[in-house]
Point group: C2
Chain length 361, copies 2
């Protein structure tokens, strides 16, 4: 067993306490990020059954060796067909009341489970109940810090080379190459490098458009490191910034700063969204802020809690969330400023490292 294996019993104990109540005898996890979180298994397919006094990782033949190495052979069961394997184990355990992740199980898979487990009482667990990864432990925070630092370092290395004439895709390629050479296991999501009017599309894919003098440049990028993601957005200018752009940048930066200043334990996520949104409304830019203010980050780049008007979660110590207000003026330019913060008792710590004052490249 790897030395860091000690984190898993703690996680299992906590999840058992929170989920195996109200008569629930076992929980079936099919979301592979939850499976990884609870077991350390990093494969892309499988299932994890958590009972009151036992647990088992189920994998197909491609993953038997890897699973045995990662969690110990005793904890692994090899199936030929997943749902049949799950049914076999549950029958052996003689448990009938089984919870499942309602958001991670398709209507089709649910139908198959019902068919193979006619006697079982399958209980959908709402996202709220199975958001087991919102509060990060020390190992996770360490990985998130390393991911963020590695990404920021790579961008700062590249910036001196970013100049008019390069295509958006060249910049994205060089950034991704540097991030991986610096130790990233992968990129967190396809890097966004959007110049000028392309920056007005919040999810632009980098293309053949060449950077030009005085262009706005939005770079939204991140890495995966030991399974954990980073995600940071910087908005630059290549030369002269127009005065409407400068004003809008100042407004987005203030919205970003105010939202971050409000982050601490006990504050509702919706309140953080409201602070950023109200400020941009006041600045006359509210209608150009077309997305929510942020999201949790961890084994997934976007995970609960959403920093949104409809989120009912209160921030807790150890949550790690992104704050990313933006404004997008169709046909002209866009601005997004995004940092990752670690929630503390009375404030938060910013773990992304690239400076966010307006930078002229």
């Amino acid at each position: 067993m790897p030395p860091e294996a000690s984190r898993f019993p703690k996680r299992l104990a906590r999840v058992r306490r929170s989920l195996l109540t109200n008569g629930l005898e076992a929980v079936l996890f099919l979301d592979m990020n939850n499976v990884r979180y609870l077991t350390g298994f990093t494969g892309s397919d499988g299932a994890f059954l958590l009972g009151r006094r036992r647990s088992l990782l189920l994998v197909d033949g491609r993953y038997t060796t890897q699973a045995g190495e990662q969690i110990g052979e005793a904890g692994v069961f090899e199936y030929r067909e997943k749902v049949a394997g799950i049914a076999e184990i549950l029958a052996g355990w003689a448990v009938t009341t089984v919870g499942f992740e309602a958001a991670a199980v398709s209507y089709e898979t649910y139908g198959k489970l019902k068919e193979k487990l006619p006697m079982a009482c399958l209980q959908p667990l709402a996202s709220k109940a199975v958001n087991i990864r919102m509060v990060k432990d020390e190992d996770e925070i360490a990985a998130l810090r390393q991911a963020a630092a590695l990404a920021s370092r790579s961008l700062l290395e590249l910036l001196p080379e970013v100049r008019p004439g390069l295509r958006e895709r060249d910049v994205a390629l060089e950034l991704e190459y540097r991030m991986k050479r610096n130790g990233a296991d992968g990129i967190s999501f396809p890097t966004i490098v959007a110049a000028g009017e392309n920056a007005a599309l919040p999810h632009a894919a980098p293309g053949s458009r060449k950077l030009a003098a005085d262009d706005t440049l939005v770079i939204d990028y991140g890495v995966v490191f030991e399974g954990y993601h980073s995600d940071e957005t910087c908005t630059f200018v290549l030369g002269q910034a127009s005065s409407p752009f400068r004003e809008a940048y100042g407004a987005v930066k203030t919205a970003h700063d105010r939202a971050i200043a409000a982050v601490k334990a006990g504050v509702p996520c919706a309140e953080i969204d409201r602070i950023a949104r109200d400020y941009l409304e006041e600045a006359g830019l509210g209608r150009f802020f077309v997305h929510t203010t942020g999201h949790g980050i961890g084994l997934e780049v976007h995970e609960p809690p959403r920093i949104a008007a409809t989120t009912e979660v209160l921030l807790e110590v150890g949550m790690v969330v992104n704050i990313e207000p933006g404004v997008y003026i169709p046909g002209q330019w866009g601005i997004r400023i995004e940092d990752t913060v670690l929630v503390r008792e009375r404030d938060c710590e910013i773990i992304t490292k690239t400076p966010k004052d307006l930078t002229i490249l």
Copy 2:
């Protein structure tokens, strides 16, 4: 509208003919690959409603501009909350019998749809019914060819530089860099570069292990080009191949060749799997062939039909599938040989380009 827009009306007409039968008045598509296939919209979130005489793409505010540019503003509806938006449109259309993709809709989303559409009759469509992308049209085949050619060219460029002393991750990084520089929009999946005993794990992640003399080297890699994926696996030797390895390589290559020789319209997918599996059984390697023989490829790297014993699909002209038998000797080495083929009336065409005879690097 982009010039290639003409492909979409054809696809819509075909899908209407196949799905809007038996009283079904509309189909709700939530699988974003199906949405892209039917509309050309490349965003990562949204929904598409296909009615008998009309259709509508639903997106949130992040994607309104992009969707308007990609499919024309008239075909786009912006929602604040997806399920509420879907309910609003369906109410306006006054349709009640609505199919949905049972494999792409979570149990939780289904619950929300039921709640917001109390009068609707929601009909789960089995994967079989909504496998609308199995037969590729000319545009898709062209993109798949370009993806495969671009990937193979990049690997062939890199091979002269692959030598003992490099780490697996260095090889993966350089290959990914070359693929993107050569025009790939992204990589198809995290590149596998697995040396020696690591090659015995079918889904190994490239790590810090250094290539050594006489190592086996499995490289499984691919690109995304215009949304379409490539996927090819080559197994090399860095020096001297042991005679058990040579024998096994010959067996996997023969299994691969026989399976491909059998691919043509009308043949069951299960038959192709059986041919590869039987040959490896005969060669005494059956128990080391721990996965299915292949899969379809297109907007997803793994998509229907699976080339597996349990698949009931018959091959059709225009299907594009991967054939990838392999054997994995735990603790020693692994071999996988994978090509993508286009099904034709009487045979198939191999569209991946790297030679598969045993190559000593």
